[in-house]
Assembly symmetry: C2
Homo-oligomer: 254 residues x 2
């Protein structure tokens, strides 16, 4: 069984393998522990011998397939430079827009990633969306793979507790208009984002730091929003900016 799980993990190192199999790899002690807690469908756990005995025992108790491997072999499976010695393979695929379950009552806040290229940032943003009250995150085409192991790690389990969809830009805009969303575009030096100005349905769109938002937005009704910068600074890390704006948008819920 060890051989099968390890072969599977090697296949999941490639984007195509993750897409075809509908599986992701969650690596690290804290993350695997978190994933086992969420009740996500874990298909297997691989650990270095003696590295994570309690976690391996917990997985076995849940009837999950486990494999112990030598440290050297684990390094070949791990995505991190200094692996903590345990990983889980989890059934997970992004949703389609039509699958998103919106809250029946109250405000709807969506985080939209438009060309975020750093998978660690993608994961951190999913984590922020979950913690700061968005009901879902949508990753548009041009954004790093939400199934990338760095994105899974960056989300710290939020990937399994929060709705994440992928969509092409055109498809998203058509859907968003139909559903009555205001598009709020994060833009350096724009007016300060503020919950007071927000209607019941807001999609906060954050673009890449290098390339910004795609030009097609220019022809779409939208509001440009930003964060006031002090001391002549230009901008913030995209995940930090998204976090602050989500925090500001959630102000009326706190």
């Amino acid at each position: 069984m060890a051989r099968n799980l390890a072969t599977l993990v090697r296949d999941l190192q490639r984007r195509r393998g993750r897409e075809r199999r509908g599986l992701v790899v969650a690596e690290g002690f804290r993350l695997v522990s978190e994933v086992l807690d969420t009740g996500a469908p874990v298909v297997g756990v691989i650990a270095v011998e003696h590295a994570a005995e309690a976690l391996v025992a917990a997985a076995r108790q849940k009837g999950i397939d486990t494999a112990l491997v030598p440290e050297r072999e684990f390094r070949g499976l791990a995505d991190t430079d200094t692996p903590s010695g345990v990983l889980a393979v989890v059934e997970w695929s992004p949703l389609a827009l039509s699958d998103l379950a919106a809250p029946d009552i109250g405000r709807r806040r969506l985080l939209v990633l438009d060309g975020i290229q750093d998978p660690g940032n993608v994961g951190a943003m999913i984590r922020s969306a979950h913690a700061l009250g968005a009901f879902a995150t949508v990753a548009l085409d041009g954004t790093a793979d939400v199934r990338n192991p760095k994105a899974v790690r960056g989300s710290m389990g939020s990937l399994f507790r929060h709705q994440v969809a992928t969509a092409a830009w055109r498809e998203f805009v058509d859907w968003g208009k139909r559903e009555g969303y205001e598009f709020w575009l994060a833009t350096p030096k724009a007016e300060a984002v503020g919950a007071a100005a927000a209607g019941p349905r807001v999609a906060l769109v954050v673009g890449s730091e290098g390339h910004g938002l795609r030009e097609e937005w220019a022809a779409t009704p939208r509001r440009l929003v930003g964060i006031p910068m002090l001391q002549g600074a230009e901008s913030l890390n995209a995940a930090v900016a998204a976090g602050i704006m989500l925090y500001e948008l959630s102000r009326d819920r706190r």
Copy 2:
């Protein structure tokens, strides 16, 4: 000259080399452009032939030593997996606490990194501190090297525009008390951070996600502050949390 600069960069790949020489490497098109704009003391620029001609010309015009190297050689010097083909070597060392120049008037806000291990996060936090009104960032022992190329990149030039000091924990606490700082410790699930409760001098201390803040804080007068989480989420990325708290603390300045 090309040979000398390349040898220098190789030495700067090690922490000891950076410390001994008082130099850091700033890699990437946007960052090198930013660094040349800040007027930071650049001692050399290395680029792949034809990759960054305007930047190389701008550096030469400033009398900066430049070297063009083949792409293959550049990959050996670069810290990134997919290098954009240009880097700058810059004179930079962290300050001591006694060197920090505090604003004469107005509030004093300090960001303190206590064991942040991811150098990219360290850089993002320095960038946030600069943009959100802290007058300096202090990296305590146990935090990743602020001279690490990933930290330099993550700061997106803020390292050269914002005061960054390093200190041992004990030294920092003694200094902070003498200077009249309140220590605000970022803690999941603590009371919400709020500018209204802040005195004139606040040091916001953010710890590692994995290990939290060091135990020695327990014996120090301090306030525990947090960010309200929604939807049962546990925590945020450390850089995102620091950004939101700095934003909240800067509220009275906006």
